[in-house]
Symmetry: D5
Subunit: 119 residues, 10 copies
Amino acid sequence: MPSIDTFPNTYPNRDYEITHVNPEFTSVCPVTGLPDFATITLYYIPDELCIELKSLKYYYLEFRNKGIYFESSVNEILDDLVEACKPRYMKITGEFNTRGGIHSIVETEYYQPGWISAE
Amino acid sequence: MPSIDTFPNTYPNRDYEITHVNPEFTSVCPVTGLPDFATITLYYIPDELCIELKSLKYYYLEFRNKGIYFESSVNEILDDLVEACKPRYMKITGEFNTRGGIHSIVETEYYQPGWISAE
Amino acid sequence: MPSIDTFPNTYPNRDYEITHVNPEFTSVCPVTGLPDFATITLYYIPDELCIELKSLKYYYLEFRNKGIYFESSVNEILDDLVEACKPRYMKITGEFNTRGGIHSIVETEYYQPGWISAE
Amino acid sequence: MPSIDTFPNTYPNRDYEITHVNPEFTSVCPVTGLPDFATITLYYIPDELCIELKSLKYYYLEFRNKGIYFESSVNEILDDLVEACKPRYMKITGEFNTRGGIHSIVETEYYQPGWISAE
Amino acid sequence: MPSIDTFPNTYPNRDYEITHVNPEFTSVCPVTGLPDFATITLYYIPDELCIELKSLKYYYLEFRNKGIYFESSVNEILDDLVEACKPRYMKITGEFNTRGGIHSIVETEYYQPGWISAE
Amino acid sequence: MPSIDTFPNTYPNRDYEITHVNPEFTSVCPVTGLPDFATITLYYIPDELCIELKSLKYYYLEFRNKGIYFESSVNEILDDLVEACKPRYMKITGEFNTRGGIHSIVETEYYQPGWISAE
Amino acid sequence: MPSIDTFPNTYPNRDYEITHVNPEFTSVCPVTGLPDFATITLYYIPDELCIELKSLKYYYLEFRNKGIYFESSVNEILDDLVEACKPRYMKITGEFNTRGGIHSIVETEYYQPGWISAE
Amino acid sequence: MPSIDTFPNTYPNRDYEITHVNPEFTSVCPVTGLPDFATITLYYIPDELCIELKSLKYYYLEFRNKGIYFESSVNEILDDLVEACKPRYMKITGEFNTRGGIHSIVETEYYQPGWISAE
Amino acid sequence: MPSIDTFPNTYPNRDYEITHVNPEFTSVCPVTGLPDFATITLYYIPDELCIELKSLKYYYLEFRNKGIYFESSVNEILDDLVEACKPRYMKITGEFNTRGGIHSIVETEYYQPGWISAE
Amino acid sequence: MPSIDTFPNTYPNRDYEITHVNPEFTSVCPVTGLPDFATITLYYIPDELCIELKSLKYYYLEFRNKGIYFESSVNEILDDLVEACKPRYMKITGEFNTRGGIHSIVETEYYQPGWISAE
């Protein structure tokens, strides 16, 4: 797993929401070897740690020449980022460009065991 | 039923969501013989199997010269895709182009017996 | 009441949703005698019968030279279409063009006695 | 209070919704004496009475040269229109144009005592 | 804390909502020293006090040459404005412009102890 | 020809442009007897006379129950309005709603003999 | 060449413009055998004949199962329609859906020998 | 004529363009006494003088309770502003809100005698 | 230069226009080593040869790991594609994503010696 | 004048166009001391030199705490950038946010003596 830097959450007493939208995600289709393009949205409620934005950018760059399916990349990003910052809640959404006339969205989420949303 | 290929879901421990949007669906009106056009959106939560994108594309092509009503095509797609991948949840939405000054939307869904949404 | 044709719902085992949007509805203001224009949206969950699209179009045409208030036309359409197809649920929305600098929306709905939404 | 005309609701057996959107509301800032501009949206569920559209238009015109704050005008409109038509539910939304680089929205609502929404 | 003026809420008997949208917020990145830009949305339900719009504008100007992270500025604004007007509920949303190809949203909220939303 | 009122142009020394956009034009298809809908845009440079807006509205209403083709209605409107106000220049554009999956635009114009555009 | 019906232009004394937009054009890729989708826009200045709309629709349907390249279909449509109505001017534009991540537009035009645009 | 302040153009050696868009213009219909609303766009190429923005705002406010036709207000504004700043070129555009289902645009312009556009 | 396939233009007697829009172009910044993203639009009037779409796609892929400035990539693409198909006219436009808060567009064109546009 | 870096134009044989759009420009109103916000668009045809993007960014930052009128900032930017890169043609457009209900656009341009546009 690539290194993802974090910094301490200075407002851990509150459930608040952080969203980072990356419209420049690209990976490679494992079947055709051709590039895929997506917008990846990271949405999370931090616990003790926040994700550092620059290292997040470099983390996404690791996928540029990696052969991976839509469903796998979105779930793998969730696993890596949950491990890095141990959030109360996290959701990853990938919106992939049209391939063969069809465009696709994959969305996956994580709940910290024992955490209950205030909503 | 046309053949729809599947591949194993490698994250079956999670309820996550996959959406495939096909804005190039066309079938034939059984009354007039004229073509109908629609955007078909497939949204599902996989269980053990995911739908393979290329075979989905070819499945939709089967409707190109088929005479079928709006209400029937959307429900028939639901039945076929549920049978193919046995999902936890599936929803099919068809948005049909204007005919006689009226445009139409049909939406139908399936719940796996015993499955309970986390939301 | 004008005649509205129906056809049997071949998927009565499911609650599914049908929407027909008519942006070309016109009636006459009973006060000024001037035409009113609206988009009428019919949304329903069929029980045993579906509404036939062409007869729906002709039904709407009956309002072209009829003097009627916004609030009345939307409720009257609901009554007529409920009587025609006896749905599980129906909602009629009328979005009327600007008159005197103000534009208006009227929305009314019907629940079949005893029917409970799955949502 | 200016006079607001009403007419009998001919469908009092249903909870249905009426919306009147006025994008041409203007009043005067009590501090600077300069005009303010807003879109005022009236949304209500009538009980025995509906608001007559032309008198509503004239009611809004009363604010054209009146000095009043954003928060007060929206609440005062609610009080006046509730008194005029005694609805089951009413909501007034005012969306005010940019002043000092900031634009503002005020929203206030009324529930008839004892009335319970079907939703 | 910069001074934020308030005025008495003349409708304290109701829970109503006030929103002030500032698309001209700018602060300075504490790492690079370069300016950041955001739209800050303040949404609150007043209790006894409302926030005066002009002093809010001057409050935001204090951030123009201040080095502060996205997550901190949004939470700090919440703390300052809660202290100033002691609302029943408040939510601050910051939508920050693209940096390094990624744009970010931070949202945080406050509930007055004992207050229960009518919704 | 229906009567179209005019009033004297008080700025005949200048070539200036007047546009009236009517999104509520409706006529009847001479083949099917079904209504057609269009946005009719009148653009002209007045000479001695301007077209009075209310009589223009009533002029358009004359088409409501008239059977006429797209190409004819737009050219007929040009002829009628040129005759009524004898402009330096006039252009009529009709944008017709989708029929049989195709939507249509017809545009026709008139130049006063001897008049030369300053552009 | 499929038959395209025409009717006499009743305003041949004027150069005026007719546009028919068909967003439901589909043909077949001669290489892959997969369907292509396009919006075809026909724009022309009639001489003695206008194109009849219903026969135009049926003309376009001839391409539904025909293998043809983008560049050829647009030029072939121009040739066929020029032959059918012998216009003063005609332009055909085809906007084709994304294939392999690239979408394409082809535009071609015809001038009647000796005709000079008034513009 | 209300007073319109000016300040010296410090770049008179160049033809450059200044646009001020006022979406909050309101006047009164001389027939009905009801308010009209418009966006007024002032576009000019200054000669020796530029129009001061605050006095322009106050100039437009003079129309708030003035009875005047669309065609007259736009031409009158042109005359007043040309007299105030003696520009090389000026154009006034008024886009008026819907009245009787029709919305209107009036556009008028002034060329300084002897001035030739570089374009 | 990578190989770009061509096929014979079957309508060389006409000047007609072909546009291929690629929103998935990516290259590498020669200074930072970070990826750049752009939409590249190729617009040309063919002479004897047309550019084959699939080889164009593969040509663009050559830039994926190439360090090159905005201004150079757009001009280099022009040179390569002119050499490949020797068109009557060609224009390349690159619209690059935001970097450092600024987004950029570069546009360059080629005219075949002796060719004169019909427009 | 702040330093603006340049680099040699490697395609000086062509007239081609470079656009840099900066939506994050801010300066200070010399009258009120309050910040102004604008999108500044630089469009130029280079001669021997291109403007380096990072130094352009730093150049714009110089205006952050500078008191200057709309008309002056746009013309001053033109003078500075023309001096820095001596282009064949340059145009600067500033679109300024709403102040007092009015938003403003200023556009100014430079032609190199003796240079003639190919268009």
